[in-house]
Amino acid sequence: MAEIALETRGLTKRFGGLCALDGVDLKIEEGEIRGLIGPNGAGKSTLVNLIIGKLKPTTGKILIYGEDVTGLPPHAIISEKRVGVAFQHVSIFPKMTVLENVWLSLHARSKRRWNPFIRAESLTNVKRKAEEICDLVGLGDKMGEVAANLSYGDQKLLEFAIALGNDPLLLLLDEPIAGVSPGETEKIAKVIKEISKGRTIVLIEHNIDFVLKLADRITVLDKGKVIAEGTPQEIRTNERVQRVYLGVE
């Protein structure tokens, strides 16, 4: 059996009276693409925010590669456990160029990042790797563009590129195609396939077809609870999922 990359045990998060997540147990194996779907308000984004440490769980535990990371500060989870995250609402450095964006994300792992005496340009290996990542996500010809001037689809790709900066073992993609045109959706699907090599990917999406196409296994959340888990085929035919999610009576 493969190693467990991400595990949650009885993860619960309450906002006052509202229970956003209610005892979620997840086990995601190394190397898989796990789809995480559910209707609005199912708790998908809350789950992401808990994993990266932006929110603290009310009860329950989060384990990444078998180690308890519950309550660690976000930067520690991200850097020590090599977690990458691409947010639903693109979070980039708008005034910097594409290359600088990626450069800065790679730089988080650079040993010479504290150095105040050398020029940033002299870290040529960081720059070379940044160029590689830009090529990988298909932004190779736009490296010199200022990030704010990119199309929304390209900004999503840049968000991926930034998330790949610390060469993550566990990559969380929060609604990668929300607000993206159909043509660009294809492009993003291809990129996700491309970057999934040697990584575990958690793909949180609202669009069920997109997930069915890409994921190895799918977990369905509804009202903060896991209601189904299985292969895309199983999920497609699961009655309960059809009832709550697909709206079939």
């Binding site: 005034k95 105040p116 005496f117 200022v146 610390n166």
Partner: protein, 326 residues
């Protein structure tokens, strides 16, 4: 901010801040300033000396406000510490000038590490308020500990000669004093320019652009903000020390909030996040306060109106205008 101005260049080189250009612009400003200081009558030289001292103050402040987006209203704390650090160590310990300056800067680093680790975690208005509070605490201490600081009347001291390559330069001559302070101004710029174009400086710019994203890339943002705070305090301290040397005097007023306001004004007027913007801001505002301030004591009303007008039409400050029409 300089970034959009450099967009065109960035397309070729793919990096925002082209520091060689920054140095060129700086030399274009510094050289005339130096000549002016050298050939002018004494009172103009003194004015230029002040411009240079406060430029160091403002450049250091720019690291905080312009590069890491931390709005401190308490930099006079370090200005005062720098001034008293050098004055008291010369007065009571009889050290030479270099040692005095180093003692002053060491004090600034220690205090800023302590106060920074308490305050830097706060953001927005909370950070502004806590820096004001720290500043006021030191101001009132300086006012009440008359035995140490001389309070409102302040203390005077004889500036010891400067040990420089085996010769002792007397700083009684105002031109020598000017050259000494000007050389520290150049060194300060070179250090700060190097800092902002270094790997560490890139992280500072990242904090300004999107602090949250940096956290979720694995950066411990707190540490970098603390470094920026300490660097800023260091240069505030240096300018305070130089101001005490220039006047041969320091008083509790060096800790006052109106001195905390100065680097903010200079940085905003000149253009923050550019390093040379604060220098330009100082060159514009400081002479204005000298000449108008001599005529009318409520001159800061005019300064305030000017700042509002200037920033209304271009929030990037004066440097925004220069870059726009290049």
């Amino acid at each position: 901010m300089i970034s959009s101005t450099y967009t065109k260049i960035a397309k070729d080189r793919r990096f925002i801040i082209r520091t060689p250009k920054l140095t060129t612009v700086f030399l274009m400003i510094a050289l005339p300033l130096f000549l002016l200081g050298m050939i002018s009558p004494k009172y103009i030289t003194s004015l230029v000396t002040d411009i240079v001292i406060f430029s160091i103050y403002a450049m250091g402040y720019d690291i905080l406000l312009g590069f890491t987006n931390q709005f401190s209203y308490g930099q006079a704390l370090y200005f005062g510490l720098g001034a008293y650090g050098v004055l008291l160590s010369v007065l009571h310990m009889g050290v030479n000038l270099w040692t005095g300056i180093i003692i002053a800067l060491t004090i600034c680093v220690f205090i800023s590490l302590l106060l920074g680790s308490l305050s830097v975690r706060l953001t927005g208005a909370y950070f502004v308020i806590i820096t004001i509070i720290f500043n006021l605490v030191f101001y009132f201490l300086a006012l009440s500990w008359v035995w140490l600081t001389g309070g409102d009347d302040g203390l005077t001291f004889t500036v010891p000669p400067l040990d420089f390559l085996l010769i002792k330069l007397s700083l009684n001559d105002h031109i020598v004093k000017f050259c000494f302070i000007f050389s520290l101004f150049i060194i300060s710029f070179l250090i700060l320019e190097r800092l902002i174009s270094s790997p560490l400086g890139r992280i500072f710019i990242g904090i300004r652009e999107n602090e949250e994203r940096l956290t979720f890339l694995g950066y411990d943002v707190f540490r970098y903000k603390l470094i920026a705070y300490v660097v800023s305090a260091l240069f505030s301290g240096l300018s305070g020390a130089l101001y005490a040397i220039r006047l041969g005097y320091a008083s509790a007023e060096f800790f006052s909030l109106s001195l905390s306001a100065l680097p903010i004004v200079y940085t905003l007027v000149g253009g923050m996040g550019t390093l040379i913007g604060p220098v330009i801001g100082t060159i514009i505002i400081l002479p204005f306060t000298y000449f108008v301030g001599a005529l009318w004591k409520h001159y800061f009303i005019i300064v305030g109106a000017l700042i509002i007008l200037l920033l209304k039409f271009n929030p990037k400050g004066v440097i925004g205008y220069i870059m726009k029409y290049r």
